[in-house]
C-alpha cells in the first residue's frame, strides 16, 4: 500500500509535523525569554541614569551627585584588549595543535583534558591563581609583578579565554571535510601551509564565533579582577597600575548603601551588555563582509 494513499495517515503525519514545529518554536521562545527579560529590566532600572556624563565623567565621591563610569569603560576595554591579545592567539594555536598536529598523542590528550578542566574552574579560583602568580610574588627586577595592575587583570582574563577558544578551534577544525584537506595535499602544498591557509581558513567563521563567546564571557567577569586589576576611582591607562573596570564598578556600587550608586550600577550593567553586543556585532559584520556568494 502506498504511504500517501491513506488519508488518516497523512492527517496524522501533518499533525505530528505541526506539533514538532510548535515545540521547536516554544523552545526558541524559552531561550530568548530570559534574555529579553534581563534586558528589559536593565533598561527599566538603568536607562534613566545613562547620559553623557556617564560616558565622559569619572566617579564622584560619596554624597556628591552625578559622575560617570568613563574610566571603567576605558579600563574594561584595556583589560579586554590585553586579554584578547593573550587568549586568542594561544587558544587558536592550541586548538590547531590539538586538531591537526597532535591528534592522538599523549600531549594532545593532556592538553585537551587540561583545557576542559580549566573551562570548569570557577572564575574566583582563576582570580586567586592569577593573584598568586602575578600579584603576590615580589620580584623587584621584573616589571608588572608584585602589585595589583591592569597587566595582571588582562592576563587573568586572557587565561580564562584560552580553554574556550582552544576547544572551539579544535572542534571547528575537525569539522572541515577530509576532502578539502586532501585537495590541498594533492596540490603538493606542505602540510603546515595547508593547515594554515586552507583548513583554518575554511573553519574561520566557527573559530571567530568561539573567540567572541570567550570574549563576551570574560567581559562580564568580576571575581578574577578583584584579585588583579583591583579597580580605580581615577583615570588610568597605565598597565602597571590598578585599573577600573565596568564589572568591578558595578559590583562596588551595587553593594553600597546609596540609592544614587544603585542607579549607576544598573546603568553600568546596561552599558556593559550593550557594549558587548555591539563589539560582537561589529566583529561579525567586519568578518562577514569578505564572504563570497555560496561559501559555506
Amino acid at each position: 500500500m502506498p504511504l500517501s494513499g491513506n488519508p488518516i495517515r497523512s492527517k496524522i503525519r501533518a499533525a505530528t509535523d505541526n506539533a514538532v514545529t510548535g515545540l521547536a518554536i516554544l523552545a526558541t521562545l524559552l531561550v530568548i525569554a530570559p534574555l529579553l527579560a534581563i534586558f528589559g529590566y536593565l533598561i527599566y532600572k538603568g536607562a534613566s541614569s545613562v547620559n553623557l556624563d556617564f560616558f565622559t565623567k569619572i566617579p564622584k565621591p560619596v554624597g556628591e551627585e552625578g559622575g560617570g563610569m568613563a574610566n571603567a569603560i576605558v579600563g574594561s576595554a584595556v583589560l579586554l584588549a590585553l586579554g584578547t591579545i593573550i587568549g586568542v592567539p594561544v587558544g587558536i594555536g592550541g586548538g590547531i595543535y590539538l586538531a591537526e598536529f597532535g591528534r592522538g598523542t599523549k600531549l594532545a590528550n593532556a592538553v585537551r583534558f587540561t583545557a576542559d578542566v580549566l573551562n570548569g574552574v570557577p572564575s574566583i579560583v582563576m582570580g586567586m591563581a592569577a593573584y598568586a602568580l602575578l600579584v603576590g610574588p615580589q620580584v623587584s627586577w621584573l616589571p608588572f609583578l608584585g602589585h595589583f595592575s591592569a597587566f595582571a587583570g588582562g592576563v587573568a582574563l586572557g587565561i580564562m579565554m584560552i580553554p574556550t577558544v582552544c576547544r572551539t578551534t579544535e572542534e571547528m577544525l575537525l569539522m572541515v571535510p577530509h576532502a578539502v584537506r586532501e585537495a590541498a595535499l594533492g596540490l603538493g602544498v606542505p602540510n603546515w601551509r595547508s593547515v594554515l591557509s586552507i583548513t583554518v581558513k575554511t573553519a574561520s567563521p566557527g573559530i571567530i564565533t568561539g573567540c567572541m563567546l570567550a570574549f563576551a564571557r570574560v567581559a562580564g567577569e568580576t571575581a578574577p579582577l578583584i584579585f588583579t586589576a583591583l579597580g580605580n576611582e581615577y583615570w588610568s591607562l597605565d598597565l602597571n597600575q590598578p585599573i577600573a573596570a565596568l564589572p568591578l564598578q558595578i559590583y562596588k556600587y551595587a553593594l553600597s548603601p546609596y540609592d544614587e550608586w544603585h542607579r549607576l550600577a544598573w546603568a553600568g550593567a546596561l552599558v556593559l551588555i550593550v557594549l558587548i553586543v555591539l563589539s560582537v556585532s561589529l566583529v561579525r559584520y567586519v568578518t562577514s563582509r569578505g564572504v563570497l556568494k555560496g561559501a559555506s
Binding site: 571535510p177 576532502a179 578539502v180 585537495a183 594533492g186 596540490l187 603538493g188 602544498v189 563570497l292
Partner: protein, 252 residues
C-alpha cells in the same frame, strides 16, 4: 613533457585489508591509460599510490616501487614534491569552499608562493578554458565561491585547479562520473589534447570512454591487475576470461 611510470610489486593496505596485491605495470609517457574494474576493486587506491596520497590516511600502508621518470617516488623524493609533479583529480569534487572560483584555480600556485598577478590571470583563464568551464564562470570568477557551483561544474573546477600547476602526470579518478554528456565530451577532448604534453591516467566505469580516450587499458579485479594491454586488444580480444566477462557485462 610527460614521463612514464614504472610500477613494481606494489602492495597497499587499509588497516588489515590488503587492497592492492602485487601490481606490476608500465604506464607510457604522453599517452592516456585507462583503469577499469568493478566497484571496490582498488582503482582509486592504485592511483592514490602513484602520487603518495595513499599514505596520508593514517591506517594506510604501502610497499613496492613506483618510478616516475627517473625518480623512485617512495625512495628519493619528498611526498610534497611528488604531488606537485603529479596532479590529481579526485573521485568526488573537492573545491575549497571558502575560496572564490579564481582562487580555487590559482590555489596550487598561490599556496606554493607564486604571486605574479598577470601570469596568474592568464593561467586561470587557460586552465578554465581547458576544463570547459570558462564560459560558465567567467563573470563570477571572484564573486562566487567554489562551493556554489553544481557538482559537475565543481569537478571541472577541480580539473582546472590540477591543470594550473602544470603537472607532468595527471591522475583522474572518474573525472566525468558527475558530468552531463556535453561536458563529458569536452573533458574527453581535453584529455585528447593534453596527452601530447602530459601522461594521463584515468579511472572510469565507462567502457566507451576508455575506448575513446586511452591507448592502454588495465583491468583490476579484487585488488589485482588482471590484464594490462592496448585498449584495442582489451576490448576486442582480451586474453583473460575474467576481463572478457567484465567488458561484455557478464558480471560487475
Amino acid at each position: 613533457m610527460g614521463v612514464g611510470i614504472e610500477v613494481t610489486n606494489l602492495n597497499a593496505w587499509y588497516g588489515t585489508n590488503h587492497t592492492l596485491q602485487d601490481i606490476n605495470l608500465h604506464i607510457p609517457a604522453n599517452h592516456a591509460t585507462a583503469l577499469i574494474g568493478p566497484s571496490g576493486c582498488g582503482k582509486s587506491t592504485f592511483v592514490r599510490c602513484l602520487n603518495r596520497m595513499h599514505e596520508t590516511n593514517p591506517i594506510a600502508r604501502v610497499t613496492g616501487g613506483v618510478k616516475v621518470g627517473d625518480v623512485d617516488i617512495y625512495a628519493d623524493a619528498k611526498p610534497v614534491e611528488i604531488r606537485r609533479r603529479i596532479g590529481m583529480v579526485f573521485q568526488r569534487p573537492n573545491p575549497f569552499p571558502t575560496m572564490s572560483i579564481y582562487d580555487n584555480v590559482a590555489s596550487g600556485l598561490k599556496l606554493n608562493g607564486y604571486r605574479n598577478r598577470r601570469v596568474l590571470d592568464e593561467i586561470v583563464e587557460k586552465s578554465l578554458r581547458n576544463s570547459a568551464l570558462w564560459d560558465e564562470v567567467k563573470d563570477d570568477l571572484r564573486k562566487k565561491s567554489g562551493a556554489s557551483l553544481s557538482g559537475g561544474q565543481q569537478q571541472r573546477l577541480c580539473i582546472a585547479r590540477a591543470l594550473a600547476v602544470d603537472p607532468e602526470v595527471l591522475l583522474m579518478d572518474e573525472p566525468a562520473s558527475a558530468l552531463d554528456p556535453v561536458s563529458t565530451s569536452k573533458i574527453e577532448d581535453l584529455i585528447f589534447e593534453l596527452k601530447s604534453q602530459y601522461t594521463i591516467v584515468i579511472v572510469t566505469h565507462n567502457m566507451q570512454q576508455a575506448a575513446r580516450v586511452a591507448e592502454k587499458t588495465g583491468f583490476f579485479l579484487n585488488g589485482r591487475l588482471v590484464e594490462f594491454d592496448s585498449t584495442h586488444k582489451i576490448f576486442t580480444n582480451p586474453s583473460d576470461k575474467r576481463t572478457e566477462d567484465y567488458i561484455t557485462g557478464r558480471f560487475g
